[in-house]
Assembly symmetry: D2
């Protein structure tokens, strides 16, 4: 449903063309500094219209905190947040009314609910993610303060142009160790921190845009300074919740942590991460595990990648059928993202922060009662 | 934690060397035929010692239903199930006591809890999955009866030997359409239904076994006859819950549904699944989506793949460090699986069934109140 | 926390002096007619300032639906609702700043959170219940449509003036069978439907108001046409959830269902409700049970009573201590309700509706799968 | 359903005549000393057959810990517990097969589930509470260790013989301050600590037993040394969860905390608990609140009372109807408790401990992150 988390809990509402979208964040620890500015920066990063690579709708997306803070401090009570819907253009989509868009949610919503929002993506719209990003910004601030946790996502693939994401590639592991959010944004609207790759990816997106087509991509996210011990066996392993969080983002088709699918070909003797001393405590020499073992964070960098399919709504004519089953050709009007991965960056970061903040609070409840160190 | 599901809810208990492992399954609809035999078949499929490819421990694993049924019918009350632990061999592992096994859960458990089971994998052991498989067998029976749902998992990769799992490979899509559980098992202990691939995979496992090493693999699972409309936007999209379920299985590192990571390179105009009429209702011509759109099942086959890393416990000596940080060499004694994917088959099927049974009950609560067809 | 329900789920936000209060209602079945008018009527019933018996703050409390409906129909997606805070008067409370109000939440909030809203009741304010009432109105509409469920609460006690609420009092049982919401409101602002009792209660409230004091009371609620089979043993018995719901309302101190505390003195042979035929199905001759047996609704009227203490904030001087422990006298300024039970009526009705709507959806998910009649 | 709690979470299974009853307790902090003896004492206190006042079935009720501990310490993993069903006597109940017992769960179970256990109370049997008591013993040990929390329940009413439970009765408040579990048990099987009242209550029970009838009663429970700050506004106020917990116990009809229903007649100026210094921190002079304000514990004693109806199963003939609606006379065979309140004592204590342990862990997750004292 529309609630995520156990102790740090976000509930979102809103679809593409209603009055507003927003969320309630429950369980934020009290006495934390928090202003709308803390939240706005990530919201602005997810806005469309930031470049010619993404759709030009001018969404203002100003967050308004409704409750839960006073004089810049959290009260420990639910934080309500609202972002008004401004640019609704329902008429742009009128021609599509008879057709369920292929690979979009039109058909499944009408089948599930017997009704759907009359225009736009409704609840399946990317606008639904605004509440997540707003909530994630609060989670991120919490994590930053308690352990200087750093969360950085970046584009690691657009179409056939992909970084070598191997856990055994030292350059990639260095990138994960050092990449900053500023570097990601400095690389231009494509948000790939490797300049020549960024340039190639940009060309790919422009190519598909010129064809009225679309193309998918991959987002990689790294989290540094994760406290040891987060994640709850058996069903709520940290990677399981992360996978849940990532696959809940629209248009995602895959998730892999650490060595991922490529790791299945590496024998155990190479894949195992040997223990070594690091600054007074145990760490691992390599990090094929991606920062968790047995579902629990081990203090190494957590990193994972998420696959985003090519956007379903394209202006290129498609042979398909109407809701009534009559064959026909759908040509979507309106402005559509040829590629969503740059805009997905803050969403991936937000879902990561929400997952970790919740895991942190849960672990905190258990720790130190009877002599646990952490 | 140790509970999975909202309405069809399983809670498991047990570690590798305690009295028993088991589960409580709450929310099973009443009046369903159910016997221990219904459950035992899948439990037996997950037992080790079924072939020379997997560990030889002779786990009997006989399930005993404690409650929730009478005269072969479910009562609607919680079904308690127990499987005794018999083959415990705690001494086999004694040499490892000073070393946290690299890439195993020894270190993270001791850090998280300040204590861990003295031998074996404890709660991180594969024995924890017995409760899941027992519960999954009940979920599967429910799904079978309400819509003839078929769930079949098989090995699609071992080390570098992999099937071409592309959503645009007609042979693979045919396999998904037709594969049966009998065919999977008929192919020998490796559980790959393509004979020459099975043979190659078997050799790979034997090779690593002879090296006292281990190797990973990939499990693909297909679900046919899924009712339309399952899955709950926004956070509980069907693929999100499936990803959660799969990444909660020990040793998993990745999940992809439909076209997955490979789908990111297919432009929207090819990736989109056009609608066509199929037997009186809308279906899709292709199935790059993998059976869901917008997080909701669309009636097409759901299929996804899960990456399993190479098992962490190997007899080959490993340079690592003790809990105290002293360098040393760990040589694990005991019998260890060189590859877990064949045994993972019933676990993947179980977690799939649990996910879908829960989604089915949730959707059933909403449907038809105000004129929804499904 | 701030979420109530499993499938029909409300999450509220807001305190007494922030921008707005509101809620998100998730899980509302699709295709249900719903407008702001459906919600406003109950919100208006909970407004203060409706009579000289309650506080005169002029809260407008206009609900604004943000999402989840289109053209007057529910979409099945979360319904966001907002009510602006208008009459804030923070200065009225300034004198109390050094004193935690006796029996109010000032002290416990500061101890729990280390911070509290600077004026008014913060999250412990009655304004928090606005979101509940708005959500409850939707739940009520659902229940009305699926089984013509009727929920009517009324004042059954103010101070020492109390109705004879015995389950063995035929007049009281008749009242429960016939009372309507219109009759409750017609009886004047005290909302007791027995005129002479209403008159007496009104005098009691006026007396305590004139003393700058306050007095408590009792609300009784009856629900008619409840479907048989609602409620989930063992922990989520219908009466357990109702008790949870009622004791979550500010200022409540007790809950009893059916015969309640008085029923403990009635021997089993008299207390048991014998079965008789009623219009083609089994019913009970008496209703000491209050409409549930074994935690499950039996189709008879559900009725229960809720005790509300005398409001804590009074203008009469009180000997108490400051936060620092210094003795002193607190004289609360501002306008305060001398009695809250009339305003509690729509809140009790709302929490009842939320409880039953959730139980209804849960039961619906289980029913009819394998031949259950209901 | 059959799970209670968020972080300290118990799931129970089992009915009156299946193989075993038991539970899984998830979320127990690691490194806590725990043996079967810790649990058995409370289980033995709830056993029937301890005196002539309660039913003579010889239930052995030996708990067997299945998992989650090693060498007498908790591992932090789920604790599975089993108690075998031994004395089943299904034939004793055969005559009742055509009749739903008045005010028992026979009718509602068959209506809800379309099936019910063929004999005994099934899931509605008091045996279901064994899992609760076992889990509660663990919760209690946790609370004892972290803050020396003391939970003592006792019988405060049987039929018309009742203690004066007024929050303004100094003797009763003294009793709450000093009563021990040993004193409760020392008073004989009726478990009322006031000797002359105990004697009178015993006579009442014997009277109704001799009439083949039954009689109800009241249990009062006090909790001392509760940490300040437990309980989660708005819906999960501590008293709301306690009410939920208590009304989930079979045969309960009411709950009141602090002054309860009687408190509604006390004006605010008397009902308010003024603050005074107590040993260096703020406390309250009186305790009409019952230990919580705004849903949060304030450090004073928590006390509440629970109403238990007269047991439904009686041997006295009852005019009623069969499942088919034919009039007839039901005379229940078998041995039946004429009064359940003495046996309810450890169940009330267990549900109290489960509620507080969960609230404690939840609060612990929030505290001290940003400077909260507690």
């Amino acid at each position: 449903m529309s609630t995520f988390g156990t102790l740090f809990k976000v509930t979102t509402y809103g679809e593409s063309h209603c009055k507003s979208v927003g969320c309630i964040v429950d369980g934020v620890p009290p006495n934390m500094s928090l202003s709308e500015d803390d939240i706005q920066s990530q919201l602005s990063r997810r806005r469309p219209g930031q470049s010619k690579l993404t759709t030009q709708r001018n969404e203002k997306d100003r967050v308004q905190i409704q409750s839960g803070t006073e004089f810049g401090k959290t009260l420990g009570t639910p934080i309500g947040m609202i972002v008004l819907n401004q640019d609704q253009h329902p008429k742009d989509y009128s021609e599509m009314d008879n057709y369920p868009r292929p690979s979009h949610a039109d058909y499944t919503y009408i089948e599930k609910y017997g009704i759907k929002a009359s225009s736009g993506g409704g609840r399946a719209s990317a606008r639904e993610t605004i509440g997540r990003v707003a909530a994630g910004a609060i989670a991120e601030k919490l994590l930053k303060q308690v352990n200087n946790v750093e969360i950085v996502a970046f584009v690691s693939g657009v179409g056939k142009c992909q970084l070598d994401r191997s856990s055994q590639n030292p350059e990639f592991m260095d990138l994960l160790q050092n990449i900053t959010r500023d570097q990601v944004d400095a690389g231009g609207p494509i948000r790939c921190p490797i300049p020549d790759k960024a340039s190639e990816m940009t060309k790919i997106v422009e190519h598909y845009k010129s064809q009225n087509d679309s193309i998918g991509g991959i987002v990689t996210c790294v989290v540094r300074n994760v406290p040891v011990g987060l994640g709850e066996p058996a069903f709520d392993k940290l990677e399981a919740i992360l996978a849940h969080a990532m696959l809940s983002i629209p248009a995602t088709k895959g998730f892999e942590i650490g060595s991922g699918f490529a790791g299945t070909v590496i024998p155990g003797s190479e894949h195992n991460d040997p223990f070594i001393m690091k600054g007074g405590h145990l760490g691992t020499k390599t990090n094929n595990s991606g920062g968790t073992q047995g579902g629990i964070s081990n203090g190494e960098n957590i990193y994972f990648s998420v696959a985003f399919k090519s956007p379903a709504t394209i202006s290129k004519p498609q042979d398909t059928a109407t809701y009534d089953g009559e064959k026909g050709v759908l040509t979507a009007k309106g402005r559509h993202d040829p590629n969503v991965v740059p805009r997905a960056i803050p969403i991936v970061e937000a879902m990561t922060a929400l997952t970790l903040a919740d895991a942190y609070l849960i672990q905190k409840s258990r720790a130190s009662t009877f002599g646990v160190v952490h």
